[in-house]
């Protein structure tokens, strides 16, 4: 259970999040929508402990994550998978090495890493592509690699920040389906997106943000046609 309690974040005098409160239940699929500058990325940064809220708190299972000591933050982050619009893959490493990289950080022995990588690549539909380099992949495949890397620690939460931003509609929907599949396997998913078709097709809870405030929270939401989020 992730709880945002009256979270406010200032950058200098600029208020990017204003008194945001909501709860994400275990194994829920939550879509976060809103125009650029609405505060979606800041919200994700707070959740990753990259930034601290100016006021309010964010708790996971009742524990305030910003009270964690710096040295525990890396271990906390291993419980949260994250993927981005620009994939953030290392170009000089193969697909398998990119995924293995995350596991190496945790100190897992090499042979166990190989097994894990193989399993996870199969899960995201990239079986047999382990030796390809990122430049040889399509956008959709690259995002699958990023998702695979995010999943290696079997995280309880997966955060996807505009994962389909660089993809065509077909690939976008493939990624969306993959996220739904991961959610159905028990991982809580928080998806921040601009993609109207996906929001409408998924028929999941939608939280809308604007100017740092939470403006709507619908259990079975559609993309709000009153706003042009682009």
């Amino acid at each position: 259970m992730i709880e945002f309690e009256k979270v406010t974040k200032h950058y200098g005098t600029h208020k990017v999040l204003d008194n945001v409160s909501f709860t994400i239940r275990p194994q829920e699929f939550v879509i976060l929508v809103g125009p650029s500058g609405a505060g979606k990325s800041t919200l994700i940064k707070l959740l990753l402990c990259e930034e601290k809220p100016t006021f309010g708190r964010i708790t996971i299972d009742g524990k305030d994550i910003h009270l964690l000591k710096d040295k525990y933050i890396p271990y906390y982050r291993r419980q949260i998978g994250v993927v981005f619009q620009d994939f953030k893959l290392l170009q000089n490493k193969t697909v398998a090495e990119n995924v293995a990289f995350a596991l190496e950080v945790s100190g897992l022995p090499d042979d166990e890493i190989d097994d894990e990588v193989e399993k996870i690549l199969e899960l995201v539909g990239l079986k047999g592509r382990g030796n390809s380099f990122p430049r040889e992949l399509s956008g959709g495949e690259a995002q699958r690699v990023a998702i695979a890397r995010a999943l290696v620690f079997k995280p309880r939460f997966l955060i996807a920040d505009e994962p389909t931003g660089n993809l065509d509609p077909k690939n976008s929907w493939e990624i969306a389906k993959l996220l739904l599949k991961i959610n159905s396997m028990g991982t809580t998913v928080l998806l921040a997106t601009h993609n109207r078709d996906i929001v409408d097709l998924m028929n999941k809870r939608v939280i809308s943000m604007e100017d740092g405030r939470l403006v709507r929270d619908k259990r079975r939401g559609k993309y709000d046609t009153n706003y042009d989020y682009q």
């Binding site: 990753l48 710096d70 040295k71 890396p74 271990y75 906390y76 982050r77 291993r78 994250v82 953030k88 290392l90 990289f101 995350a102 190496e104 950080v105 945790s106 100190g107 897992l108 022995p109 090499d110 890397r149 290696v152 620690f153």
Partner: protein, 303 residues
């Protein structure tokens, strides 16, 4: 834990190789600093052992004033022979000293032509051998303070002290200037390694960002950079040791053979000194390399 260090070292080594010329320059500057530090340490040993060998000459010569009567000198000789620390006393008369001098210079015609063969201008002396080199000073003091003090003009001990004094002055000067040079070179090495690591951090910023995202600990990210800095130290030590070995074989040893810097039979540079020198270089190299990269990670690595 073993896996952790294996990965840290692998990452550091990869980065070291990829930096190519940058690594080479860092190693080269560090090697110069280490070379100066080593020469400084070696010089200390050479001068130390030279001073020791001068002090260790077991005999000392006591020279008498020209007005001294031979009978007094012989009387003193008999007394000195009775002292417990004295092993042997030899009387060298004024004429004997001249004969010896002429004999030593028999091939130098100019000297032979200006020096009269009969009228000796050289002082008479007693050559005293002591049982223990460290007793020389007390024996000389005993002579200088006793009844015959007024007869003695000077002793070779004083000559030795003058040489030692000169050696100490020279070595002091060399030491001071080398210390300054070493500090400057170490500072340059620090800055160059700092900069190399800074560039490495910059070129690997994406990798570092991803490492943070997937939950790498601070030290997992930081160690490879510090190890890379230390590798510059290790490489520089290797390089310097080879250079020193060549320098020793090519310059120092031939010089020692021809000038006999040390008269004691032992080699000046003992094995333990060589071990000490290499450890000194390694410690300086590791500390300088490790410190400057740690400093770079503190300044430029946002974790």
């Amino acid at each position: 834990m073993l896996v952790f260090w294996h990965r840290i070292f692998r990452s550091a080594w990869r980065s070291f190789r990829r930096n190519g010329w940058l690594s080479l320059v860092a190693v080269f500057i560090m090697a110069q600093a280490l070379l100066i530090v080593s020469i400084l340490a070696s010089l200390n040993v050479v001068i130390g052992s030279t001073i020791k060998s001068i002090n260790e000459r077991i005999d000392v010569a006591i020279f008498f004033k020209e007005t001294t009567l031979e009978a007094d000198v012989l009387q003193l000789k008999r007394e000195a022979e009775a002292w417990p620390d004295v092993r042997e006393v030899t009387y060298v008369s004024s004429q004997a000293a001249l004969d010896k001098f002429l004999e030593e210079n028999r091939n130098r015609k100019i000297i032979r032509s200006i020096i009269p063969e009969q009228e000796s201008f050289l002082p008479a002396s007693l050559e005293i051998k002591v049982t223990d080199p460290y007793k020389i000073e007390s024996v000389v003091n005993q002579l200088r303070s006793g009844r015959y003090a007024s007869l003695v003009s000077e002793t070779s001990l004083e000559d030795n002290q003058k040489i030692i004094e000169k050696l100490r002055n020279v070595s002091g000067f060399i030491q001071r200037s080398s210390v300054i040079l070493a500090i400057v070179l170490v500072a340059i090495a620090l800055m160059i390694i700092f900069n190399t690591i800074r560039i490495t951090i910059f070129t690997r910023r994406q990798e570092i960002e991803i490492m943070r995202l997937v939950g790498a600990t601070d030290w997992y990210i930081r160690w490879p950079f510090i190890i890379e800095g230390m590798m510059y130290g290790v490489m520089a030590t290797l390089f310097t040791t080879i250079l020193l070995a060549i320098g020793y074989a090519a310059i120092v040893r031939p010089m020692m053979v021809s000038y006999l810097i040390s008269t004691s039979g032992n080699p000046i540079f003992s094995t333990s000194f060589v071990v000490f020198l290499i450890s000194l270089q390694l410690v300086v190299g590791l500390v300088v390399g490790g410190m400057s990269s740690y400093w770079a990670t503190r300044r430029h690595l946002t974790i």
